[in-house]
């Protein structure tokens, strides 16, 4: 069962995205608990950084930034604006992680504290830069880097397992020197504990999630990766989330 905060955030996602022409509900809903725990409990915005690499799922991220008084540009994919909490321009997949590797490496060079968090999608794991970055991060021992995969099993045109499976990513990461945790990405305790964990290696969190989580007719349905809800569906979704 989702708690009140989780449901309310999803409702706000519908409101904000609808008003601004966004429509990636599936991926926005699958990462809500990850984002809530990051922003409400983990991130120290003075030292830490978060990069929303799966930029199409930006709406929950925008809502959390708004709650903190930031005013990011409300486009369908984030535009870098560090004064408003957006650390990187993303949307084309596979940019946030190598950038985070650069930031983490720079922090090591400068001996500057803080943890760099990146949220990527499972479809994004098909990008070559994801694998390049994994090699670079372990080679340079970037234990100030935490990567979370929103493993919702669905990408733009269908199920990841049918298009190009990436299930091996955890095993590969472990083999090349990452610390890997596999969690239920909707369980607040599991999410919070894994985000707070500190290791001597870069940390990969494989967060098993459900695309469209929280709205019964959107859950695990590829068409809700990017589908504009009719007024009828919107009403139904809001009713479910208001219960």
């Amino acid at each position: 069962m989702l708690n009140k905060r989780s449901k309310e955030l999803r409702l706000k996602i519908i409101e904000l995205s609808k008003a601004n022409g966004g429509y990636h509900y599936g991926g926005s809903f699958s990462c809500v608990e990850i984002l809530i725990n990051l922003y409400d409990s983990v991130l120290n915005l003075e030292h830490d950084k978060f990069i929303m690499s799966k930029g199409h799922a930006c709406w929950g991220f925008y809502v959390l930034l708004h709650e903190r008084g930031y005013k990011p540009l409300l486009e369908g994919h984030p535009h870098r604006d560090v004064h408003n909490g957006v650390e990187w321009t993303t949307g084309s997949e596979g940019h946030g992680l190598p950038a985070a590797v650069g930031i983490s490496l720079a922090r090591k060079i400068k001996k500057k504290k803080g943890q760099i968090f990146v949220l990527i999608g499972d479809g994004e794991c098909q990008e070559g830069t994801t694998w390049e970055s994994m090699l670079l991060a372990s080679h340079h021992k970037l234990n100030n880097l935490t990567v979370i995969i929103d493993f919702n099993k669905i990408q733009g045109s269908g199920f990841v397992k049918d298009i190009l499976p990436v299930d091996s990513i955890g095993k590969v990461a472990e083999t090349i020197g990452w610390e890997v945790s596999e969690i239920n990405g909707h369980d607040n305790n599991e999410v919070l504990n894994s985000l707070n964990a500190k290791y001597k290696k870069p940390h990969l969190i494989v967060a098993n999630t459900v695309k469209g989580k929280g709205v019964s007719f959107m859950e695990n349905q590829p068409k809700w990766h990017a589908n504009w809800p009719s007024p009828e569906y919107e009403k139904k979704a809001k009713e479910e989330l208001s219960k």
Binding site: G102, K110, L135, L136
Partner: protein, 160 residues
């Protein structure tokens, strides 16, 4: 021109500890730099795309990354990384491309680098014709603190 690059990057690094040299497994005229600044040198291997994003990440943290590779591997392969991570975000990454391989086949020959560089919004293109202009391009790009691409080649003249 490669010698001028090698000498000037050392000169800059001596002055500013934020200078970082990143290479995509193309180590030309870097011996002196590597010897003097081993902690500020990164050969990232054959990861041309991540190399650009990584450099942009370093620039976002206040460092001054200089990225070196062969021109087509520097501009053409990671074109979108240059577009989004460097140009769109206007981060001061300086990319130095060397194109000394006229007889090495199509993979090592750049398309028209001048035309490619001219497309970007914020990146300044430098096309030095000799070692003096190479040094000037390196110094200018440092002072300007803007994203830049410097295209060099073998000019056949003795290094002064």
């Amino acid at each position: 021109m490669r010698r001028a690059f090698g000498k000037t990057i050392v000169k800059l690094a001596e002055k500013d500890e934020k200078i970082i040299l990143i290479s995509g497994d193309v180590e030309q005229e870097m011996d002196e730099y590597k010897k003097k600044f081993p902690d500020r040198y990164f050969n990232v291997g054959l990861c041309e795309q991540s190399m650009i994003s990584l450099a942009a990440g370093m620039a976002a943290e206040g460092l001054r990354p200089y990225v070196y590779s062969i021109t087509p591997f520097l501009i053409e392969r990671p074109f979108e990384q240059i577009k989004i991570d460097v140009d769109e975000q206007d981060l001061p990454v300086v990319m130095i491309g060397n194109a000394d391989y006229p007889s090495h086949g199509p993979t090592h020959r750049p398309l028209n680098a001048r035309k490619l560089v001219s497309i970007f919004k914020n990146i300044h293109g430098y096309f030095p014709r000799n070692q003096f202009e190479t040094e000037k391009a390196m110094l200018d790009s440092y002072i300007m603190k803007k994203p830049a691409i410097i295209c060099i080649y073998k000019d056949g003249l003795p290094f002064v």
